[in-house]
Amino acid sequence: MATLVQAVRLALHYGEEHLGVTDVFGEDVGPPLGGVFTATQGLRTAWNSPLDERGIIGMAMGIAYAGGRPVAEIQFCDYGFNVIDLLKVAGNQYWAGAGQYPLPMVVMTPSGSGIRGSLYHSHSFESWASRLPGWKIVMPSNALDAYGLMLSAIEDPNPVLVLLPKALLRVRGEQRLPGEPDDENELKERIDAPVGEARTTWQPRWPKMEPYFVPIGKASTVREGDACTVISYGRTLPLAVQAADELATELGNRAEVIDLRSIFPYDWKCISQSVSKTGRLLIVNEDTEVTNFGEHLLRRVIEHHFYDLLVRPRLLAGKHVPGIGLNQVYEQNTVPQLRHIKQAMSEVILEQA
């Protein structure tokens, strides 16, 4: 099965060939590297930009104004902070001009912790991004969703931010992408650039991929249950699933785990139905906990389901500290790990109503 990052690459290839993508660009995105995480290797329209995030976003906007379909990469979301006003402007252009200029642009950026990235390669971005009206923001946690969400991001006529959980980029999916070869070694051989000298003449042999769209704003219920609702996305999603599976064995209580997949718009229907059923809610993400996007979901749940809740709903998030330190003591105790998630989940499940 393809890894998440291979799925992104295959989606971009499909986008180039069938959805009108004109430019895939950013720092080290073109040859020879094809992206620091290899997301853009072998792509026909990939090119290297100057090391200038503001220039990258401005260029993407200009291309989109003039009829192109750009996919721009910010190498790490930690480097997106110096361009946040341009992201704000990109989000308001359709509104500012009263519907004159749609801005079909995609920005993708690796987000979150999990690769021992220390202070400047571990940050999360979804809470910041959720404050950029006019954007749509998605965050896949597996290869197939990455493929389907990237195609939707490309197809949507609005600016879409694709947050890629960097801890999961090398994780293989459990489901085959439409068009993906059965043999993962064959896929690797066909689309992963070789290292060393061979790379200079290498050309990918793309499999014939098929379209597959995961609608923006559609969550995925990964585990069904009635003991509690767990909402997560990105790096913490598979951990939440693992915790739920372990607790199901240990306690015999099955948690319902929702992969939100879209930060905005989020799937309120899915959240609402699940909370109505379980009366218990845990939200898990790794962004810092003050003014965290999960707090917005809590607000909505409290406003709409106050009388449905059996126990207090809660948010497990990253600590409000300036960074994630390199020594793993820091990372393990700053952002939610399996043990934290399992602990929080069991407390929500076991608390007396």
Partner: protein, 361 residues
């Protein structure tokens, strides 16, 4: 001379065909066209300042003092939609350029009056913050300099078109060039082998709100900053429409023909300060490009009566526009969310397949 010089009456036969500024010249008829546009822009801006002071608008910012350069530029733009035509990344002092493109006065008045008929922004944006897709006018922002980061993008798409002479024009003031986006524009317009046709314009009025440029900038000319990037350029007296015309013509021709950037720095006046926030009072220490041009035209034999008539006509036109705009509908509460999103499809966006409709439900 009592007759209208544009009518071709015998009485005007004595007028020179060309009006000179140094070695450069323009036909008289063209000068009179430029003059009329400059006057219309000025009268419109002065009326809008009045609107801001009489409660008919909240804030004024605009381009009195920049009319000569803006008209000279606007008249040479290839106007239309899409990359075969010129893209305009403007800032908020380009009303005269828009009038030169053919924008009716009332479009600006409507934005000042915040009406629902404001085609540029539905009563959302400050005056002078134009957006007109049919003429490739990108939405103007108050955020200084961001347009310089975007300009190489539209120019890249233009360069890719075979047999196209469409170019991108980006404008801003000299103060904003301190922002990194200005450097981004130079860098991204000159990627080796991938240079793009951008006319980089800086109108230099010598001030950033209250701060004199000379107190925060050491470069002799802003245009010198193009030198290390190999961007040719020139400094022009932007208060002289004849010189401005030819400088713009050289710049645009360079961009159209070579598909590479050109840098134009135009020294201009700022006749009413930065905006209404600084009082919008007439600054008599600044040179008035209209008065200066009128002295030249009078010296060339143009009748004072004709020039006065232009002012009078402009006043009539602007008053009619104000009267009409003030009787037009205002935005409604339900317009708040409108145009947040362009229409997608349900299989692409399950929540907002059309426009934004409030928080997800």
């Amino acid at each position: 001379m009592n007759s209208d010089p544009l009518t071709g009456d015998d009485a005007v036969a004595i007028l020179p065909t060309l009006v000179y500024s140094g070695r450069e010249s323009l036909p008289l008829e063209q000068c009179l066209t430029i003059h009329r546009l400059m006057v219309r822009a000025r009268v419109m801006e002065e009326r809008m300042i009045k609107m801001s002071k009489s409660g008919l608008g909240h804030f004024w910012i605009g381009g009195p003092g920049e009319e000569a350069f803006n008209v000279a530029l606007g008249l040479q733009i290839r106007r239309g939609q899409g990359p075969r035509y010129d893209y305009l990344h403007l800032h908020y002092r380009n009303s005269a350029l828009m009038l030169a493109l053919g924008m009716p006065v009332i479009e600006s008045i409507r934005q000042m009056a915040m009406t629902a008929t404001d085609s540029h922004s539905l009563g959302r944006n400050f005056v002078g913050h134009f957006c007109k897709r049919e003429w490739n006018v990108i939405p103007v922002t108050s955020v200084i300099e961001v347009q310089y980061a975007m300009a190489p993008g539209t120019a890249l798409m233009q360069k890719r078109l075979p047999d196209s002479e469409g170019v991108t024009v980006v404008l801003g003031g000299e103060a904003g060039t301190a922002e990194g986006d200005f450097a981004s524009c130079l860098i991204w317009s000159t990627l080796p082998g991938r240079e793009v046709p951008v006319l980089i314009v800086v109108t230099n009025n010598g001030y950033g709100i209250s701060t004199p440029a000379c107190s925060v900038h050491s470069e002799r000319h802003v245009v010198d900053r193009g030198i290390p990037f190999g961007v040719p350029g020139e400094v022009v007296d932007g208060n002289d429409p004849i010189r401005a015309w030819h400088a713009v013509e050289r710049g645009l021709m360079h961009c159209r023909a070579t598909r590479t950037p050109f840098f134009l720095e135009a020294n201009v006046s700022r006749l009413f300060g930065h905006s209404s926030s600084s009082g919008a009072l007439r600054d008599r220490t600044q040179e008035d490009p209209i008065e200066r041009f009128e002295r030249i035209l009078l010296d060339e034999g143009v009748d004072r009566g004709h020039l006065d008539q232009m002012h009078e006509d402009a006043h009539t036109e602007v008053e009619q526009a104000v009267e009409q705009a003030l009787n037009e509908p205002m935005p409604r509460p339900e317009d708040v969310e409108r145009y947040t999103y362009a229409a997608s499809r349900p299989e692409i966006d399950a929540v907002y397949p059309d426009d934004y409709t409030g928080l997800p439900n």
